[in-house]
Amino acid sequence: MTAATIAATGAPASTAERPGPRLRRKPDLLRIVLAIWCGLIMVILFVPIGLVILHSFNRGGSFSIWSGHTSTKWWGTLFDGHETLSALVLLVVITAVGSVLPMIVKAVTGWRNTFVSRWAAPIAFLIGVVVVGSTTDWYRSVFREKGIGDALRNSFIAAIGATAVAVILGGLAGVALARNAGWWTKPFMIVVFLILVTPEIMDAIALAGWFQRIPFRLFTDDFLGFAPGMLSLWVGESLYASAVVTLIVRARLAGIDASLEEAAADLGAPPGRAFRQITLPLISSALVAGGLLSFTICLDNTIIAEQVSNAGSSTFPVFLISQLKSTVKPTVGSAAVVLFAITVGALGFVGYVLRRSGDSSSQIAATLAGG
């Protein structure tokens, strides 16, 4: 009680008095020391990444020994530049035209539709993907080098599938945790927490053994045309990712009280419709953020992928591990830079989405640190 009153009465007084003396105070030495320390750590955090980028332009034949000269020859080895460029240009043009089209129509004829103008850009992008995919065969030819190209492709397929699973499972579970808490909440959260902290090698060996036991050779043969092992990768990588999405969605909904959903129910909306029209828009930013985060996590999942993937479905990290015994080529660096760019893009978008939905940078950090 006393502490509370002192805090309540003391704080405003002290903040009110503060501006005066602070101007005359000598520079905060602690702050300067901490700033230097922080700067140093930031530099160290980026040094290895900088080295990877630098060494992807290494002219020599080894990733880890710098030859003294830069060259883009290993980028040329990885990518088929011509094919990729033409596909990319086509995609950008279709997306741009599609996004602008509603505005032109509006300017010329005066017709407009909120739905069309809102979704024009994503739809145009999707059409672009389909057109580019069906006309240019870039998917097969973008990577010139077979081993690393297949590995990168597998990485993306595995990460996309696992993310889809994680977003669906995590989204539903997050809503249930925030809105329908009950006796089950505690045991469920314990399992989620265990998934987050269990050393990955434990999950990896457990799943590798378990998939052998599942009947119908579901996890050992090819699945719906995907290489054998891809289904295992989806399941294996989805575990951690779905736990992350669960926490993010739960945190998002916990901050919004349930009155909107209750209002919808009072107005006669059946549960399914209330979920679709009220809850889903509320958690959409959390789903996008969680999904992108899952994607970056799945993209560089090494340990589970190493145990559960097959020869035909080995992902980029698995490929890289297998290369360690011999000399690692700078092509690996080029692929790493591509993955790095994707990660930065995804994280940037996560930040943008969360910020737009009203989070401060501190809240974003809390989200990324696991709630």
Binding site: T2, S14, F63, F188, I201, L239, S242, S362, I364
Partner: protein, 311 residues
């Protein structure tokens, strides 16, 4: 007001149980997390039998794998793993805490966002590639090695690749971000009012830090330790990429039992022991921390009943 609206009495629908939406997750986690790990525990009591598709013979349960896991070679790796992980956790706290403190208290909001991004981006960049990148500065014939010799700092080339030192350096680097983030979150949630109050009551900076900020940051430190120490113990990438034979860690050992030696029972036993060792270390750490806190609290206890009585 709620009274005036009479709900339509017709068709009372069967309500789904409250956890229905979490149902798919529950099935998923039971099927692909709990049951598989339970099987690992079961396997650890079996015997190796390469003739089957799952090379485990469970007909005569034994503790043999556990006694084998305690044999000299495995036990050395165990000790080394725990040593690396404990040291790395302490180092990440010591290195990361000032950074988190600076971000939480000493920086303006607009800079904070940028600096946080600079912590987050490397942390979420591929773990394997970041580890592999350490081979560049640490390599014997590398540029850094040459510079250090030219400047006379080292007499011979850097020779720490394939040793425990290399693993130690890289593991601290790899997990630093995952320590800074929870620390920052915990420090950021401390209300400025409490620190102000401490100052106004006459505490100097050190006392404020030791008696207000640090105890309130406790949950963040605990979260950071959990998020770094446990994965470190199972870390298999860092040791595989940089450790060689001398810097082996338990995660790589488990992997080799499953993938190379096909000795699932022994690998399972080592994995179970690893979890046990992790829990033991965490328990010892928790007892140490809570013990010191308890002693300090007893020594510092102030009787506030008389203070509170005054108007």
């Amino acid at each position: 007001m709620a009274q005036s609206i009479v709900p339509p009495p017709a068709r009372r629908r069967v309500r789904a149980p409250k956890f229905a939406l979490a149902g798919p997750s529950m099935i998923w986690y039971v099927l692909f997390f709990i049951v598989p790990i339970a099987f690992i525990v079961v396997y650890s009591f079996g015997a190796k039998d390469s003739s089957q598709r799952i090379p485990v013979d469970l007909s005569s349960p034994t503790f043999g794998n556990y006694s084998k896991a305690f044999s000299a070679t495995f036990f050395t790796t165990f000790k080394q793993t725990i040593r690396i992980a404990v040291l790395a956790t302490l180092l990440t706290v010591v290195i990361g805490f000032p950074v988190a403190y600076f971000l939480a208290f000493k920086v303006q909001e607009k800079w904070r966002a940028i600096l946080l991004a600079l912590v987050i981006v490397p942390s979420f960049t591929s773990f394997l590639i970041r580890t592999l990148a350490w081979r560049i500065p640490l390599s014997k014939n590398g540029t850094l090695s040459g510079w250090l010799q030219d400047w006379g700092i080292l007499s011979g080339p850097i020779d720490i690749l394939e040793t425990r030192t290399a693993v130690q350096i890289a593991i601290v680097y790899n997990y630093l971000g995952f320590m800074i983030l929870p620390l920052f979150v915990a420090l950021d949630r401390i209300e400025g009012v409490l620190r102000e109050a401490s100052k106004d009551l006459g505490a100097n900076r050190l006392a404020t830090f030791m008696r207000v900020t640090l105890p309130l940051a406790g949950p963040g430190i605990a979260a950071g330790v959990l998020l770094t120490f446990i994965p470190m113990c199972g870390d298999y990438v860092t040791a595989t990429v940089l450790g060689g034979a001398k810097g082996n860690m338990i995660g790589a050992l488990i992997d080799s039992q499953f993938k190379g030696a096909q000795n699932w029972p022994l690998g399972s036993a080592i994995a179970v022991l690893m979890i046990g060792a992790v829990l033991l270390v965490l328990a010892v750490g928790a007892i140490l921390v809570f013990g010191t806190q308890w002693i300090l609290r007893r020594r510092r206890r102030v009787d506030i009943s008389s203070v509170g009585a005054r108007p």
